[in-house]
Symmetry: C2
Subunit: 428 residues, 2 copies
């Protein structure tokens, strides 16, 4: 179960303001459930959990295993919602050093020429034993026309065709729209394997579709456990969403009070990328019509030594949301040393987890005294099931909170503006 504690934030909000916001949250949840709000044609991220497609999970899982067995390198080619979810889950559940499977690289998420050029060189270099790297590529784009992703795919596809000739079609997997979009043309022509992005699921809500699940499976993570974690959260909140209604109401009241920044902070370096996923999910959903609390990401205690000063004493426009893991997932303890030259023997025998927990509690206390409202979201242990639950927790929170602002959580009209200007400048 995901715990949500608004205790360190609630005291900053008057009862009247809170209960008014709570009413909005209740209405927002009704809108979601009844499919009566704006953008309600985009609620497929709920439907896939209400009615799991076990056959597809099985199919993705076995392709993941096939690729794990064969590939040295697996490239995820996508931008925004097409890679942030996979990256979040993979970073949360994979080793920091070394690897237990294919190296997973990301491409198609910017137009940096140096990055792609150096990636090409790297892919062409043989392994230490002199043999060529075995490379698989997953291109992820509903429309197939997103510039960043299409450009990288064009370049990488050419490399794979040079390396593998006709067999290159074995090395390329497309995740795209069922029928529409530019990728379907090339899939028909080349015979690439294909997974479908449901039409009613937007990019930032797509991590539990093949968009996220195939890369996650290639990383060796049990996607069935992940997915069914989300399913259990779905069922729980269909029954009782009190936690989420409180959180959404609180965040709405803080928004009304004029706070402009929400720092999503974790004390586990594994969860930094999850912060990036939440940043897109919330930011792209709420940031419309002049509204929203800007979501930003921090990793503590690292960033207490960069942003900590500002959070403690700078301009008072911040709130924080801590993403917490309660139980240790490492046994590392502090060793005792002779002479105690660094004065740390008082910690000897204690685990890093315990010390990190005290750092978190100290930070909660200090920032709270510095008038920063803090929401605490916690899971018991860091595993695929709980990450699945957390994913649905934040998807549902986003839907409720953004509806409660009176905004459509499922479109992104502003993203088109830079594209239009760019395409005009490119002479398209």
């Amino acid at each position: 179960m995901i715990k949500c504690d608004i205790g360190f934030a609630r005291k900053f909000i008057e009862d009247d303001a809170y209960f008014k916001a709570r009413k909005k949250a209740d209405n927002a949840l009704d809108q979601l459930r009844d499919k009566t709000g704006p953008g309600s044609e985009w609620l497929g991220w709920r439907d896939i959990l209400a009615d799991p497609n076990d056959a597809e999970l099985e199919q993705i899982g076995s392709l993941g295993e096939e690729i794990r067995a064969k590939a040295d390198v697996f490239i995820v080619c996508g931008i925004g919602g097409s890679y942030l979810g996979a990256k979040a889950v993979i970073d949360a559940l994979s080793p920091h050093f070394g690897s237990n499977g294919p190296e997973i690289l990301f491409a198609g998420h910017h137009i940096g020429g140096k990055y792609l050029e150096e990636m090409l060189t790297y892919l062409k270099e043989p392994k230490e034993d002199g043999s060529a790297k075995n490379i698989y590529l997953n291109v992820i784009s509903k429309s197939g026309s997103t510039l960043e992703t299409a450009l990288a795919f064009r370049i990488l596809r050419e490399l794979l065709e040079k390396m593998y000739g006709e067999d290159s079609s074995e090395h390329i997997i497309c995740t795209t729209s069922k029928e529409r979009g530019l990728l379907n043309k090339v899939i028909d022509e080349k015979g690439y394997r294909k997974f479908i992005i449901p039409e009613d699921v937007g990019g930032r809500y797509s991590v539990l579709t093949p968009v996220g699940l195939l890369p996650i499976a290639v990383a060796g993570i049990d996607i069935r456990t992940l997915f069914y974690g989300a399913v259990s959260a779905y069922n729980q909140y269909e029954d009782n969403a009190e936690d989420l209604l409180e959180y959404a109401a609180l965040r709405n009241a803080i928004h009304e009070s004029g706070k402009t920044i929400d720092v999503f902070a974790t004390f586990e370096p594994e969860l930094t990328s999850l912060g990036g996923w939440i940043q897109q999910l919330l930011g792209e959903s709420e940031g419309k019509e002049g509204k929203g609390i800007f979501p930003t990401v921090a990793t503590f205690s690292t960033d207490l030594h960069s942003l900590g000063q500002f959070i403690q004493q700078g301009q008072r426009s911040l709130m924080e949301t801590f993403i917490i893991v309660e139980k240790p997932f490492s046994k590392l303890r502090v060793n005792e040393i002779e002479g105690d030259g660094d004065n740390l023997n008082y910690l000897a025998g204690r685990s890093f987890h315990e010390i990190n927990t005290k750092a978190r509690e100290g930070t909660t206390e200090a920032h709270s005294e510095g008038d920063v409202p803090i929401v605490r979201i916690s899971m018991e242990t860091l595993n695929a099931e709980n990450i699945g639950k957390l994913i649905y927790f934040f998807e549902l929170l986003t839907g409720i909170f953004v509806y409660s602002l009176g905004v459509n959580p499922f479109n992104q009209p502003g993203v088109e503006d830079y594209k239009k200007a760019m395409y005009r400048l490119l002479g398209k």
Copy 2:
């Protein structure tokens, strides 16, 4: 030369407000030069450029070469200003894939047990040829008592002592205070090599001292060129700091106008970590007494697909600062393909740099029309000299801007608050 263009921001500020802020900036620069402002005992970051220590540069450079020749892994053990500068420069100027020297790892920048435990396992694993990894460790801490760094150093030192016995002292280099601090005790005892952090240079201003320079040298970057880039910027701005005064005045006026967030954005993925360095430099300097514009970091066009919607149409409390590289540093061009299945043949023959530039221009136009003030900081090419110039540009800008707010740019009293609470909870 670093170019600074406030044209896309100036129009949002009334003349009266701007000229009032400009006066404050002029006074702030006088305070810096005359050493009459609060915290003026911390201006060593200017003095080291006024009077370069060539002998020390030489010494650091040759140790860097020695380590490059011997080490497989080089660990930078430090937090905040003790690693962010080195990471910024190394990421800006190193290849994305593969390596041209020792692998550079970071430790001591958080209390994550899983990270450190997995690092230990990785360090102990032999190389592909079966031989042991040759590991060097640079611990960086003025006081030697910063918890995150001291804990990791205790653990890593034990590993090196097990691996190398008495020779471990050859593998450990300390960067610390001249005389005070806990590391000096262990240096005397063990005979570690030592570099000195000048007493009058604070952590976030220390990248051009041994703090940053040794790791940067180990990464194979010419530290003399980097350093003398900064020296030339120092001389230039001692002569004429008009650009910086304009920028500081503009940012002050935007601060007064109630904007709360400054998105430092680059279109070059190489420069993402430089954003992290700026975030600490500015954020920890300005975020006091309820003041400051919260600095946050984005990489475009990547984050146009996550934060772009909010920046374009969300709550209007943002400004942006673009860090720009004008000339291409990659020759990668778009290839032509038969059939034009992805409709990109209209770009065939054009460089990624050119397309990325159009993305930047389109973004500038779109965000500007969305009422976001944009400051553009640009360098001609991405190299060590220009990064050195950019470092001093932002150090000086920080000093001027923060003095113009009426705040001491050189202390960080708020960082102590979480530490105090944490140490109490740990029973120290």
